[in-house]
């Protein structure tokens, strides 16, 4: 009950009973006095330690605030660059993609869009050449018949 009293957890009805006992028992009264003195002693000790460390804590907090301020400024400067850079960069990429993205013909080999071919002249020193035209939906063929091998 003494410990509960010191900790402030003793119910009101128990407090009268304890007081009556402490008045009659010298041993328990001494124990109660000793236990009650511990709390103030601890508070005084921690207060003294805090007072001792206060200058160092103040200095550390000052440094922390300075670093937070620096980081904030750094982030602000960083944020300024993308605000200017992203738009021209995106436009440049779009222009590049438009100019250099391969067309359908380039992506797939031999995907002709037209077989309309004019053969303006044909000449060979060693072969007979024939033009083969099998219709608009088929490619025009220049066929080389090598004279020496035929």
């Amino acid at each position: 009950m003494i410990v509960e009293k010191v900790d402030g957890l003793l119910p009101r009805e128990g407090q009268g009973e304890l007081s009556a006992h402490l008045a009659a028992c010298a041993g328990c009264a001494a124990e109660e006095r000793a236990a009650s003195a511990v709390g103030p002693l601890l508070r005084a000790w921690t207060g003294a330690r805090a007072a001792e460390n206060a200058p160092r804590l103040d200095a550390m907090w000052t440094r922390v605030r300075a670093v937070i301020g620096e980081r904030r400024e750094e982030n602000r400067r960083r944020a300024w660059i993308p605000r200017w850079a992203w738009l021209p960069a995106a436009l440049a990429l779009a222009v590049l993609a438009f100019l250099f993205y391969p067309t359908g013909t380039a992506r797939q080999p031999f995907n002709p869009r037209s077989f309309d071919v004019a053969v303006e002249d044909v000449e060979s020193d060693v072969a007979t050449v024939a033009l083969v035209d099998k219709g608009e939906d088929l490619p025009r063929v220049i066929w080389i018949m090598e004279d020496a091998k035929s």
Partner: protein
């Protein structure tokens, strides 16, 4: 003291973009005059019956035009050539194809083509194609079959 408005301050990135844009405009007009020439060398024979899947959309065309049973793409090269610039393409069998874009009007492409085998002139021709057009040159013997050359211009 009057403060400077950052929204009107010229930025190095914006200047770089302007320079890049002007350069691209210049290269775009040059690219419009260039001709992208693609040459494919197909080996056609009656050895087996296979069709090279790389030949893509023209597989059916080859089968409807020729009586060979096997078609295999041996080589494929693409080169961008300016008008008057000659591109040389090595072909199977120590043959060479020289292609020179010549001046053309509108969306047309004109190509001067010469195929040689050593010192012999196998073919000299001038072709007029639409951009994206294709023509075939076939007949030169190769192994047990023939070569069919695919010429396309973009």
């Amino acid at each position: 003291m009057p403060s400077r408005n950052p929204s009107v301050r010229p930025s190095p990135a914006a200047l770089a973009f302007l320079v890049l844009f002007l350069l691209l405009c210049g290269s775009g007009s040059a690219a419009a005059q260039a001709v992208s020439v693609e040459i494919g060398a197909v080996y056609a024979s009656n050895e087996g019956s296979s069709m090279d899947p790389v030949l893509g959309n023209i597989r059916g065309k080859l089968q409807s035009m020729f009586n060979y049973t096997s078609y295999r793409l041996l080589d494929r090269k693409r080169r961008s050539l300016a008008v008057g610039e000659t591109g040389e393409f090595e072909l199977p069998g120590r043959r060479t194809m020289r292609v020179t874009p010549v001046p053309a009007q509108g969306n047309k492409v004109r190509l001067s083509v010469q195929i040689t085998e050593g010192a012999k002139n196998l073919l000299t021709t001038t072709l007029g194609l639409s951009r994206g057009g294709m023509v075939l040159v076939g007949g030169p013997s190769h192994q047990a079959g023939v070569l069919i050359l695919i010429i396309s211009a973009e």
